[in-house]
């Protein structure tokens, strides 16, 4: 479970998380082009729906986080997309709460940004060169970094709140293990699939080049 409920973490952690989340959100929203809002919204909705699927893992089942995948596909836009998804989950499903939202958003968005920063360039090259094995491997890494990053952040925010959470944090870290494995496998498949069917979604430089005339068009419209 990636959502920390309301009232668990201490005030300093709440405030730190809130400030970082608001700053990142402001930056990302300012960067977000109006013509890209529908893309961001559709992908946010897609991740919301995908996170509802119970994927079997051993005797139990897990719900995917997909923040690594979001980082690959959306880059900075992942921050508002994650924020909106978290608001909806908090209000309509009761995961997390209004004040702890910032902490939860940072816990999920930071790994997504790390994935975007570390892997999207390499993935773009791998797709351009048609290196199948590398594409799958990078996809798997994206899923792994997403889950392990979020697990680390959740445990750190618990431990930073109170040393008494140490035991619980260790147990929570262990419960992330099956999710990390399944998420890595599924993300690898998703990335492999998209690389075959719609590689332009993952190509970094080429998409930007292709978009440039379009962006000028936007500037005229705006």
């Amino acid at each position: 479970m990636a959502h920390i409920p309301e009232g668990v973490v201490s005030a300093p952690v709440l405030i730190t998380g809130g400030v970082i989340a608001v700053a990142a959100l402001c930056y990302a929203v300012r960067k977000l082009d109006y013509a890209k809002v529908p893309h961001a919204a559709v992908l946010a909705a897609c991740f919301f729906v995908a996170s509802l699927i119970a994927v079997p893992a051993g005797p139990s089942s897990v719900h995917l986080l997909l923040n690594g995948m979001m980082g690959l596909l959306l880059g900075w836009t992942a921050v508002p997309a994650i924020m909106v998804a978290l608001v909806l989950q908090a209000v309509f499903f009761g995961f997390g709460g209004p004040l702890v939202l910032g902490v939860n958003a940072v816990n999920m968005a930071l790994p997504a940004l790390i994935v975007a920063w570390l892997l999207s360039g390499a993935l773009s090259n791998a797709i351009a060169n048609g290196e199948q094995r590398k594409i799958y491997l990078l996809g798997g890494f994206a899923g792994l970094i997403g889950v392990v990053g979020t697990a680390t952040m959740v445990c750190l925010s618990l431990i930073a709140s109170s040393a008494a959470y140490l035991t619980a944090a260790k147990i929570i870290a262990v419960t992330y293990l099956p999710l990390a494995i399944v998420e890595a496998l599924v993300t690898a498949t998703v990335v492999g699939f998209i690389a075959k069917v719609a590689p332009e979604m993952l190509l970094k430089t080429r998409v930007e080049q292709a978009l440039q005339p379009e962006e000028q068009g936007n500037a005229e419209v705006l």
Binding site: L43, A45, V84, L222
Partner: protein, 253 residues
């Protein structure tokens, strides 16, 4: 079924007819009070208030219980360990570990607080239509781009939820049974990949259609929000109710 129905089931009540800003502000005040409370009798009162809100909002008990069960596993994990890991006076011993009174009271505090907030969110926000919450947030001054993102996400959750169900039915028709194996994970990967690719295409179509209709970078919110006297009274009443536990805590100290 899936995500196509976000809104919680409820009877018509004051909470679902008021200005959405009332609900958002009241939920904010409630959460703030919950964080400020530290003593368990006051938190008990807060939980009682959250239940009262649910009665007033007319939420179905099934959705209340479903919602509580969903997050209780995480809470129990956190809370069960607390008495054993906080230093303090020994309460009882189990397998050589001593549980402390301080730890137990801390655990009770956290459990009450989290439950109260979850129930209050259900009664105040989850019963509203997501779109009307978006209008409320816009009227409260949230950035327009974020509101548009929120509104469109809400819309496409329904569309993609249906799309997902269709793909899933197609898999079912081909005798797909999810199990813990490589075949399942790969099939789910393809399912999500397909969903993503189709949603990207859909997004491009939406942008094209919006351009056709003269999209100039701003969408217009249907501003039907009307703050009435009864809304002020409702907000005042809810805030005063939420503040009662805080005042009581001052007395207890």
């Amino acid at each position: 079924m899936l995500a196509s129905q976000l809104q919680a089931q409820h009877h018509l009540s004051r909470f679902s007819l008021s200005d959405p800003r009332v609900n958002i502000l009241a939920a904010g005040i409630f959460a703030l009070v919950a964080v400020l409370l530290t003593q368990w009798p006051a938190l008990m009162l807060l939980l009682g208030l959250a239940l009262l809100f649910n009665v007033m909002a007319g939420t179905r008990w099934r959705s209340v219980i479903k919602r509580l069960l969903a997050f209780e596993t995480f809470m129990l994990l956190l809370v069960l360990m607390l008495p054993f890991s906080m230093p303090g006076e020994t309460w009882f011993r189990l397998f050589g570990l001593s549980a402390t009174i301080e730890g137990a009271s801390q655990a009770l505090t956290i459990l009450l607080r989290a439950n109260a907030v979850v129930l209050a969110l259900l009664a105040l926000l989850a019963i509203r239509e997501p779109v009307s919450l978006g209008y409320g947030a816009a009227a409260l001054g949230f950035p327009a781009k974020l509101i548009h993102l929120f509104m469109m996400t809400v819309r496409y959750i329904q569309v993609l939820g249906d799309e997902f169900q269709r793909l899933r039915n197609a898999m079912k028709a081909r005798a797909f049974e999810p199990a813990s194996n490589w075949h399942t994970w790969r099939s789910y990967g393809w399912l999500m990949g397909m969903l993503l690719v189709r949603s990207m295409e859909r997004a491009q179509r939406i942008v094209d259609a919006m351009r056709c209709r003269g999209f100039d970078g701003s969408l217009y919110l249907r501003s039907q929000l009307l703050w009435r006297k009864s809304d002020s009274l409702l907000l005042l009443g809810l805030s005063l109710l939420a503040l009662v536990p805080l005042v009581w805590q001052q007395f207890l100290e």
